[in-house]
């Protein structure tokens, strides 16, 4: 099942009920208010080694699916000239060339702004993120390894993490050269070095400060502030290629 959403930028709101329809299952261990809803301002849970436990199902905060850098207006992002021309082309053609519309992975960091929930599992030595979007996943290695020197370019990149106090710092490289950072199509290249700082400030909220360092596409690093809200639901199965109807509706010039 695929929810078509590339044409009408606001249509992602319609996708939300789909995420909640399958399982109405209150997750054990969730602090709840008297009315049964999760207590989003309860303290963040901790792992046995005292770090915040990011485990849970999360919904990217709305508003950034189209433009990951919308809060940077009016200055905008520090494009290299070719990257700005490409971005303007993608906007003018209504994202007709979006690989995600062809069921190619959204990739990182775009997964942080898609309108679909994801699940984080914090385990020994690694963090796994399961994305509802396109049924994909991401691994963040917490075992002290370094980033590979010559990684196989991947939509998800290669990620390692460490703790800075209560903040999880994830560094990633090894991205594909034709990355889209959002629906509008802010470009990303193989030079992208991504730093994400995840902070679970309470039970219901993760703040994310994300720095895009891609010298091929941008003249200097830029940072956006995003976030995730706790989602009291389960992931459903998203099989993009099943009855896929997006491509036929991509009508930009």
């Amino acid at each position: 099942m695929k929810v078509c959403r590339n044409v009408i930028s606001g249509a992602f709101l319609l996708a939300l009920p789909a995420a909640a329809q399958w399982l109405n299952y209150p997750t054990p261990g969730v602090p709840r208010l008297p009315d049964g809803k999760p207590n989003l301002t309860a303290p963040a849970p901790k792992t046995t080694d005292g770090k915040p436990d990011l485990t849970g199902t999360w919904q990217p905060r709305f508003g950034y699916t189209g433009n990951i850098a919308k809060d940077l207006k009016p200055v905008g992002v520090p494009f290299q000239p070719w990257a700005e021309a490409l971005y303007n082309h993608r906007v003018a053609t209504e994202s007709r060339e979006d690989p995600q519309a062809r069921c190619v992975l959204s990739g990182v960091p775009r997964e942080n702004v898609v309108p679909y929930p994801f699940k984080i599992l914090n385990t020994k030595g690694m963090i796994v993120i399961l994305y509802e979007a396109l049924h994909s996943y991401r691994q963040i290695f917490m075992d002290g390894r370094q980033l590979p020197k010559n990684p196989n370019p991947a939509w998800m990149g290669y990620s390692i993490g460490h703790w800075d106090g209560d903040t999880l710092v994830v560094e990633s490289s090894g991205f594909v050269d034709n990355n889209w950072l959002d629906n509008n199509g802010h470009p990303g290249t193989e030079a992208l070095r991504l730093t994400e700082r995840f902070h679970r400030r309470d039970f219901g909220h993760i703040d994310l400060a994300m720095t895009i360092d891609d010298s091929k596409a941008y003249t200097k690093p830029w940072t956006v502030n995003l976030g995730f809200d706790y989602a009291d639901t389960e992931l459903i199965e998203y099989v993009c290629d099943e009855n896929e109807k997006d491509v036929g509706h991509l009508v930009g010039k």
Binding site: W22, C103, L121, V128, H135, S136, A154, E237
Partner: protein
Amino acid sequence: MRRRTIDLRWFLAVAGCASAALAQSTGTLAGTVFDLSGDRVANAPVQAINLSTNAIYRTTTSPAGAYTLAQLPPGSYKLSVAAPGFDVFLQPSLTVTAAQTLRFDIHLVDYQLGTLGDGREFRIALTSPHATPNGPAPRTSEGKPDFSGVWYAQRTVDPGVPEPLPWAEALVKERAASNFKDAPGARCLTRGITAAGALFPYKLVQSRTLLIMLFEDDIPSHRQVFLDGRGHPKDPNPSWMGHSIGHWEGDTLVVDTVGFNDRSWLDPQGHPHTEMMRVTERLRRPDFGHLEIEFTIDDPGAYRKPWIIKRIADIDPDDDIGEYVCTENNRDVEHMVGK
């Protein structure tokens, strides 16, 4: 279901003096195993199952590809060959008659995805046993076996005996006759629960309340097995992977899955299923290097009785799963030709 294996050597030693009489009251099944290019396939394991007693008779082919299964009690047999690099061959029924030799040659179909590099050698490398480190299975802090790790694709130890209802049998034949051109995997659709770990490496990540399967294959895809005591939803959204819950029986994790759609193929032969399917997986890690998986496919909408498949996966301790984006430059579909 338990099956009895008859060791012919033992049988002959005890009943040696009766062998002359036996030769008259039993029959023989013999033939040659070929690949599609006509070459003979040596060392291929051949198995015949007596459909009324479930007794299993096994042999392997000679260097010239020949096999002989002698002294079979008369009756109907299901013949199968599970040779590395090939799709499992299944002949649902052959009739063995007393004092006669039934010749039956077998033509194995190469396993292939229709993608450059995915030939017989590729499949052999994936599904042959791998050298693995020795040692006991690791355990979680709760004392349960920890299945976490990267596993090579599952190899089939016993393909089992599917007994499809007539419509399902007809569909299997139709799919074979059309060169499997409608295989979901060629269109980047999820392969489904029995095939997802059977072609490419996969990774298990286990916590106290959740077992996650990360598949390199399939776009990619993942599966969750809930270990937190929840039940199945009352009216699950039909899905390719279903809804899975697990519980421990000693050191065996028993995973119960329902809520399937009716679209996946259970194996490369295209065995179908319905939304009534219930799959029970029994997972064991007998030592550090191996994961045993036993599938019981119970689908009264498509099969006369439950179908049991037994597989083993070897640990791949020094590797990780890669990123497989099926939809990126997919050229399979235009090459899927059949009637």
